[in-house]
Amino acid sequence: MIVWMIIGMAVVTAVPRFLPAFIVDLISFPRWIDRWLNAIPYAALGALIFPGILSVKPEAPQVGITAALVAGALAWLNLNIIVVVLGAIASVFLMTF
């Protein structure tokens, strides 16, 4: 029973993932759609960061905001992304005594 549910979940997840591989093989887009699609990663980053970051510690949203500022500052200094991630983890660790 659970296995069929898992297979159903796999199908509805896989189809939207692979259809675009065939779509771009069949159609080439006008330049404005290319620009739209090129902007999608930046828009996705925005939508994935906020408001999700507030729920790092749901009862204390300032923890997430502070960690975001730490990550932003480290990234602004051109530090490697691993340092950015570890710095944000350390800041949350220190804030949650």
Binding site: I7, M9, G46, A47, A75, V85, A88, I89
Partner: protein, 241 residues
């Protein structure tokens, strides 16, 4: 002087695999604690270790798997869980369209398996490694990036189910920020290069936030935030960004 010395550096297949694994490393750091938690919760909801690992193998979508586990625990029917999964994962259609359009030069035979490895994290990380799309062994770079993420997700889920949560609670909670920090770490360098990109991300944030505030499900709010936020790129981006 040897004429080869002035040619473009070309990377071997192994170089590209190595670069892909390195690029996948931050995702691994973020996935492992989340996957362990998933394994523990799924075990508590009554799923066997085989079932919860199979779900990670076949679905490979964190948020949807957590949702499914909480719905299983609440006794929700399979059809409802599948519909909820579709809604929550539909954003991968938008992301895949963007990524597939970027890697047009890679063969369809490689594009299809790569598309199945797309998550929020592998998509954003891969998309911001634009140069590899036009390199000879580019598909190997993206494949190893995605496999690094995939194996840590599947392995973490299994370990969570078998061992329980081995990370101390306070450290695990702190590691919950890892993926957000990674998204910030991906966005900032692009914003530094072209400040206008900040507006695209800000539009998407505001739209996502407002739609969730007005009661829309998180799945649709992220899809619409990404699509409408990205729409602003038509005017903001130039053809070569």
């Amino acid at each position: 002087m040897n004429s080869q010395a002035v040619e473009m550096p070309s990377y071997t297949r192994l170089d590209m695999v190595r670069k892909g694994v390195i690029a996948g490393f931050p995702i691994m750091l973020g996935y492992i604690p989340v996957a362990l938690t998933y394994g523990v919760l799924a075990g508590q909801s009554g799923m066997t270790n085989a079932e919860l690992t199979l779900m990670s193998v076949l679905v490979f979508a964190g948020a949807a798997q957590f949702l499914a586990v909480s719905m299983v625990a609440a006794g929700t029917g399979a059809v409802e869980i599948i519909i909820a999964t579709f809604v929550l994962n539909f954003r991968h259609f938008v992301m895949s369209l963007s990524f597939m359009n970027r890697i047009r030069s890679i063969t369809l035979r490689a594009k299809v398996p790569l598309s199945l490895g797309l998550t929020d994290e592998t998509f954003t990380m891969s998309s911001l490694h634009k140069r590899e799309a036009n390199e000879e062994f580019g598909a190997w770079f993206y494949a190893s990036l995605m496999l690094t993420a995939y194996l840590s997700w599947v392995g973490g889920s299994f370990l969570g189910g078998v061992l329980g949560d081995v990370i101390p609670p306070r450290l695990r909670e702190s590691m919950g920020v890892a993926l957000y920090a990674m998204f910030i770490g991906l966005l900032i360098p692009s914003v530094k290069k072209h400040f206008r990109i900040a507006f695209i991300a800000l539009f998407a944030m505001i739209i996502n936030y407002l739609f969730q505030l007005w009661g829309m499900s998180q799945g649709w709010a992220i899809v619409l935030g990404t699509l409408i936020g990205g729409l602003s790129g038509i005017w903001i981006l130039e053809d070569d960004i």
